[in-house]
């Protein structure tokens, strides 16, 4: 738990690089998180959403009208993003794929 704000932090999620990358080539945790945020934002841009790293402990998802939500890990991001946009976020959507291929 964060002593400052009292937020509970979950254990490592399977998507965390630290769970996979060999110690000798592990990037710093911060670099890993920023890399994740950068890639995720390329996807979220299609839906008008944005993700930011928050103190290296959680993420903040923001919508176009200023809504924001704290997200524990990337798996928790998608239901929150769907709820914010009130539409399904489908990685198999042809329009999304085409937009990513163009980007």
């Amino acid at each position: 738990m964060c002593g400052l704000c009292g937020i509970f932090q979950g254990g490592n999620h399977w998507t965390d690089g630290s769970a996979v990358l060999a110690p000798e080539i592990q990037r710093t945790r911060r670099h890993d998180r920023l890399h994740r945020v950068a890639i995720t934002n390329k996807v979220l841009k299609f839906y008008g959403l944005k993700l930011a790293d928050w103190h290296g402990s959680t993420y903040v998802l923001s919508g176009p009208t200023g809504q924001s939500q704290i997200i524990d890990n990337i798996a928790a991001l998608w239901p929150a993003a769907e709820s914010m946009r009130k539409r399904p976020l489908d990685p198999l959507d042809d329009k999304l794929i085409a937009a990513l291929e163009r980007s």
């Binding site: 998507t15 769970a19 890399h35 998608w78 198999l92």
Partner: protein, 352 residues
């Protein structure tokens, strides 16, 4: 939290009514390797027949009280496993280092797996081991044609045990084998009548046991149809009867030449499982991850993904990433294109 491989493995034995789950369990329990195994049995119906039959395991047996495992088991299983753990710590039951759960025949195994992954106390002490499904050769077709639970039992399995092949018509046995190979080509198949039922292989051979993980992963790709890019089984067997649950299931593999970015892969798979987890019955694979000399093993069941595991070396000269999917009504080409598009984002992110 303990290393994932050090958690107590929980094996699930499932299969339709009368398919030989208890007989299989009895055979497994005879093995000396099962001495330190606790068994959880779900009682179904008026007579706790299963309980009587596995009586020899004595104090290791805890009887679940719920009748229908699908809708009530999460709490029951949670309570039973916690109870078992507590008794083990207080030395009220013999020390055990493995748990086997026998489900009811009508069970959808997914909630059981979910309980193990999602319950905070359980996931710090237990991990999912292999899922073993028994299929009766006489009734295999009926097992999968009319019941989505039956299809899921086959699709979610790591090992499939075909039973009653000695009394079934040879044509029915051949048909049963075809059904199992079509729904779940990457599962290891056993014939209960002719193959040795080895507890070490059935229960311990999983990608998280350091001694067996490399062999277990190689088994995934043994089926000819899952090599060299894979074959869309839907195309091999056109779905003439769409109402049949088994005909909606397609298994295929995707292979990628270049290294995958782990971060992009995680983003893609979490997004895919969030939207389509119900239809991704299994996903498992061996990945060539950028900046890694050794392969990463990924293993998921519907919405759930095991923590990734390393292999110590590539099992063959083939260095491509291979993913095996068992899906319900999903498009193979679109999955491939989607993952490739996400992976491309990582290259741009690194360059930027």
């Amino acid at each position: 939290m303990a290393n994932y491989a050090e958690l107590i493995p929980v094996n699930v034995i499932t299969g339709f009514l009368g398919s030989g789950k208890t007989t299989l369990l009895q055979r497994l329990l005879r093995s000396p390797n099962m001495a330190r195994t606790a068994v959880l049995i779900n009682e179904f119906g008026e007579v706790g027949l299963d309980h009587l039959l596995v009586q020899p395991v004595d104090e290791s047996v805890v009887l679940l009280q719920s009748g229908c495992i699908c809708c009530t088991i999460r709490d029951d299983l949670n309570t039973s496993l916690r109870d078992l753990l507590s008794k083990r710590q207080r030395k009220q039951v013999p020390q055990f280092d493995r748990v086997v759960i026998e489900t009811t025949g009508l069970a959808d195994p997914a909630p059981i797996l979910y309980t193990l992954f999602a319950e905070p106390v359980l996931r710090h002490h237990f991990r999912l081991g292999t899922v073993i499904t028994t299929v009766d050769a006489v009734n295999a077709e009926r097992h999968v044609t009319g019941n989505i639970e039956g299809v899921k039992q086959v699709a979610l399995a790591d090992h499939l045990v075909l039973t009653k092949t000695d009394i079934a018509d040879p044509a029915a046995v051949a048909q049963a084998r075809r059904i199992l190979a079509r729904i779940n080509p990457s599962a290891r198949k056993f014939d209960a009548c002719t193959d040795p039922i080895d507890a070490l292989i059935l229960l311990e051979s999983d990608p998280y046991d350091p001694a067996t993980k490399s062999a277990a992963v190689q088994e995934w790709f043994k089926d000819e149809s899952l090599r060299d890019g894979g074959i869309d089984k839907q195309h091999q067997h056109p779905p003439h009867h769409d109402s049949r649950h088994d005909q909606q299931i397609a298994s295929f593999s995707l292979s990628f030449d270049g290294a995958l970015d782990w971060t992009a892969f995680g983003i893609w798979l979490t997004m895919l499982l969030n939207r389509h987890g119900e239809n991704v019955l299994r996903v498992k694979g061996i990945l060539n991850v950028r900046d890694m000399d050794v392969p990463i093993v990924i293993n998921g069941v519907q919405h759930l993904v095991h923590p990734p595991a390393h292999l110590n070396a590539w099992p063959s000269p083939d260095r491509r990433s291979h993913l095996v999917f068992i899906t319900r009504g999903m498009d193979q080409a679109r999955l491939r294109r989607s993952l490739a598009a996400f992976n491309r984002l990582s290259v741009e992110a690194v360059a930027a």
